[in-house]
């Protein structure tokens, strides 16, 4: 059961094979952890149901219907904003461009969120009161 003795007796081909297998196993971890979770996404909900899940890296403008009318969301340069809203106070539009977090329009029941798993981990607080 002497490991040193065993290693001395292995051929170069055995060692190469072992190294490749170990490398493969680590690349598997990296693949699963890094590549599989898709890039940051934009989720747009209207009136309680999810309407769009879009990648943040593709520029586009979409509109959703809420109880008060049409809310228009513009995605550009990895940011987004609300450009049109039927609500009375237009707070969602006044928020301007955001790169993370969310824009909420309470009157028209529209929630636009940018997020990925990293955001959840990095969050300093779990909720806010006030």
């Amino acid at each position: 059961m002497n490991l040193n003795g065993l290693l001395k007796r292995t051929t170069i081909a055995d060692k190469i094979l072992l190294s490749i297998l170990i490398l493969l196993s680590f690349s598997g971890i990296i693949f699963v952890k890094k590549v599989l979770p898709a890039s940051r996404t934009v989720q747009i909900e209207a009136n309680g149901s999810l309407v769009y899940v879009l990648p943040i890296d593709k520029d586009r403008t979409v509109s959703v219907e809420g109880p008060e009318g049409r809310t228009v969301v513009e995605i550009k340069n990895h940011r987004l904003r609300v450009t049109e809203s039927p609500c009375h106070n237009k707070l969602c539009m006044k928020q301007g461009w955001i790169e993370s977090g969310a824009i909420v329009c309470l009157p028209n029941k529209v929630v636009v969120t940018i997020g990925d798993h990293e955001d959840e981990i990095n969050k300093i607080v779990d909720a806010i009161t006030g």
């Binding site: 196993s25 309470l106 607080v125 909720a127």
Partner: protein, 377 residues
């Protein structure tokens, strides 16, 4: 016979070994190393793909005219989703019963029958009214669900403040002692015509309590329900730490309300953080529904004695087990002001943080050391 066959099979093995045992230089050694490697790979693969690890799942929905977020710890996305949806349904059910603006709600039925007859109510509305009256007693009437006739005179969106005469007239209809509840008959009655109950100061906290009960019924052992600023936390996060709640800085108001973009979520607007385990917290602030007219701030936390916004505080946070109480006491203590407010907190044995109108922070003795101040600008 049986023993004999065993001996025979052993003999066969002995006389004809399949592979040599693990000896120096034998190919069996390599095979073992390869087997170890394979085993290691298999373990790594299983670890990478396992779905049994506990994770945080979060969903948000607009309910009770506000942003509701439910967070749970679960080892399955499916069961987390189901539990959260059940909790949302529970909040929706309570919203239907307590909605001030819907003519179908039980609250509206009580209001329509004010001064006429008593109204049969569900156990939930009875429970909310019972708790509301308790808080009214403990806050010397500063928290009062019969504030309806005065609060309807204000329009916080259109920045309309009422005439003094109208406030005076409607103030005579505000008195929690004239809200009668009959626990045996499960009924409620407002004594005077024109009286209106508005459960806005307690129903969100109550809904958070009920949503947590719904999550627990669905075998969730750890989670966080946040109905606007009324938050109830239970259990611990997957990393073994308690839930961390930020308390908004009353003079860096969110623009727009509730959620603001920025690295790591909301941290920009937070004045202090506190860790909660099996506790609830609510904050009432003069920045929530408000407008500024002629340099004066008009907010929704009206004194039932004057009919005008209370002036002693910028924000009040209350911490105790039940979110219905944190919600209602935060309002009541805000209206009472810092001096009397701290006394009430002391008597009740609740924790609290009061930011007075000058921006000075007052805390209950027990809470010191439990929360952390953030330096913002």
């Amino acid at each position: 016979m049986r023993d004999k066959s065993k001996v025979e099979s052993l003999k066969v093995t002995k006389s004809n070994p399949p592979t040599p045992p693990f000896t120096k230089g034998g190919r069996g050694g390599i095979t073992k190393v390869l087997l170890f490697t394979f085993y290691f790979l298999l373990l790594t693969f299983l670890c990478a793909c396992t779905s049994h690890k506990e994770r945080i799942y979060r969903k948000s929905k607009i309910l009770m005219d506000t942003f509701v977020t439910i967070t749970v710890v679960s080892n399955s996305e499916n069961s987390a989703g189901k539990a959260i949806d059940n909790a949302f349904s529970e909040i929706e059910r309570l919203e239907k019963l307590s909605n001030f603006f819907s003519s179908e709600s039980e609250v509206s039925r009580i209001n329509k029958n004010a001064g006429i007859l008593e109204v049969k109510v569900s156990p939930d509305i009875l429970d909310i009214l019972d708790k509301a009256l308790y808080v009214s007693e403990k806050t010397e009437g500063a928290f009062d669900v019969t504030i309806g006739p005065v609060i309807t005179l204000y329009d916080f969106h259109k920045k309309i403040k009422p005439e003094e005469s109208a406030v005076k007239k409607n103030l005579s209809l505000v008195n929690y002692r004239e809200l009668i509840i009959d626990r045996n008959k499960s009924a409620a009655f407002l004594k005077k015509r024109g009286m209106l109950i508005d459960l806005g100061g307690i129903s969100k906290g109550y809904a958070a309590d009920k949503a947590v009960e719904a999550l627990k019924r669905n075998r969730i052992n750890s989670g966080l329900v946040s109905v606007a600023g009324d938050i109830k936390a239970f259990g611990l996060k997957p990393d073994g730490k308690p839930w961390k709640i930020g308390i908004r800085n009353p003079r860096i108001p969110p623009n727009p309300p509730l959620v603001k973009g920025g690295k790591g979520g909301f941290s920009d607007d937070v004045m202090a953080t506190i860790e909660l385990n099996d506790m609830a917290i609510s904050t009432s602030g003069d920045y929530e529904r408000c407008f500024i007219l002629d340099g004066k701030r008009y907010h929704h936390l009206l004194s039932p004695k004057t009919g005008y916004p209370a002036e002693g505080c910028q924000s009040v946070s209350v911490i105790t087990k039940e979110c219905a109480f944190t919600d209602a006491f935060a309002t009541g203590i805000f209206i009472l002001g810092p001096g009397k407010g701290l006394k009430v907190l002391g008597k009740m044995g609740f924790d609290g943080i009061i930011v007075d109108s000058q921006g000075k922070v007052h805390t209950t003795p027990n809470i010191r050391g439990k929360f952390e101040f953030k330096r913002t600008s």
